[in-house]
Amino acid sequence: MPVTQKDLMKTPKKALLKGHFACAGCGSALAFRHAIGSIADEVILVVPASCASVYQGSGKGVAFNVPTVNTAFAASDAVASGISRAMKKKGKSNLKVVVWGGDGSAADIGIATEIGACDRQENILHVMYSNNVYGNTGGQRSGDTMIGARTTTTPEGNTTPRKMVPFIMMANNARYVATASAAYLEDFVGKFKKALSLDGFKFIQIDISCPPNWRCESAHSVKISRLGVQTGIWPLFEWDRMTNNVVLSTPSKKYEVVENRVPITEWTSLQGRFRGITEEEIKALKTDTERQWNFIRKFL
């Protein structure tokens, strides 16, 4: 069920009210607006500690116009499990339980909880929006930080590869796994709605750009996300347990072929987090990108 820009306009209600606390140009808020918006009348949100727990608001009220439970950093998939089971018990299985959290909870502190919920095949969707960093605490390295990125805990550049949680979830036999990008919102919302139509544990990672932590101009937010796909850094795909196959998403198809890819420096040069990146680091980053593609290719 491909989603068009027109479809994006037909939301039951606004999920993200104006005047929220996200930074100007926040890709996470952008993705939230459309995805949660598309099912705003039947969703229950579970939000671990992250920027999303901050940009939703504070004090007077919240910008999230859907039921929202904020949880401890590592607790969200278990809380979501409890909600999903309770709703089942109450005969309200039609409600969609969605975890909306960052890479910190999904890739690091909360991954055991997430793998556990996946293992139990809980009927929930986990959306991991990744800015490749602990944004809320000011930009420390996360498991999803890529090689070469300067963060406040890797000031001279991170040396370890990205964790690639989608692969882990494939290996962990999720019902459905997909990657997405804030530059391709129709693609993202399509995957989001598809995931919600399936029973069991679904996982989507969406890379979103984050001006303060990527140290980029807010105006470049979407552009950088798009370049992430075009440089091949961030391959968009779907994987389904039923087929055990990966299907490359349209925006990424072309970039499987290395020659077709936009040079990585077009992407790095727009971001302060890559200032000072060395040739070797670029090489290592490319090698790790190829590793990811190789993993994907095994399932094509």
Binding site: C23, A24, Y55, P211, S218, A219, G272
Partner: protein
């Protein structure tokens, strides 16, 4: 907590001086406050720079507080009744409660002219077009004009709590050899260009 003494008296009596600063998230206001505290230290004062943390985002209003004293400071609260106010962005002036600022204190504003709301207030205002100075010196980061160092010059000029020399020393120390000159220049120029007027 209220203004028991005016600023001049406070200085004479060795009483603590408190300052409120308002700036925009991302504009380096917190750094500025910290540097000012360091400058005061060179001056032989005890000083405190308190950023008021919340969920500030780039562009959103951010408060910070400063304290200066000749004795060790043992007070940790936010500043409720400041002697002076330091306003890094004129459009933020309405975010502070000017009535709580000491009538004899100085309000230092990044502006060419006395803002409407203060006109005829009889207040002492220190004015400088810090944005222009910063722009001219290329103090711009991701489209954001960095007026924090510039405004420190104006603050020093307006309040005379610390000397320009000590301010420059603190700026130099913070920024290091490579990046200091531009920032010192900004403070110096602001110091020179700041006009103190009675509104």
């Amino acid at each position: 907590m209220s203004n028991e003494k005016n600023t001049a008296e406070r200085i004479r009596l060795d009483l603590m001086i408190e300052v409120i600063q308002i700036s925009r998230g991302g504009s380096g206001g917190v750094t500025g406050a910290k540097i000012l505290a360091e400058a005061a230290m060179y001056e032989g004062l005890d000083a405190q720079a308190i950023p008021k943390y919340g969920s500030e985002r780039r562009g959103a209003a951010v408060e910070a507080y400063l304290r200066f004293d000749t004795k060790p400071i043992r007070v940790h609260s936010p500043v409720y009744y400041p002697q002076h106010a330091l306003v890094l962005d004129a459009s933020l002036l309405d975010r502070i409660d000017v009535d709580k600022v000491d009538k004899d204190g100085v309000i230092i504003i990044n502006s060419n002219e006395v803002p409407e709301s203060l006109k005829g207030s009889g207040r002492t205002i220190a004015l400088v077009d810090a944005s222009r100075i910063s722009r001219e010196l290329g103090l711009i980061l991701s489209g954001f004009t960095l007026v924090n160092m510039t405004m420190l010059g104006a603050f020093v000029k307006g309040t005379e709590i610390v000397s320009l020399d000590n301010l420059l020393k603190a700026i130099e120390n913070y920024w290091g050899e490579k990046r200091a000159p531009k920032n010192m220049e900004a403070a110096k120029r602001a110091y020179e260009e700041t006009k103190v007027v009675i509104a």
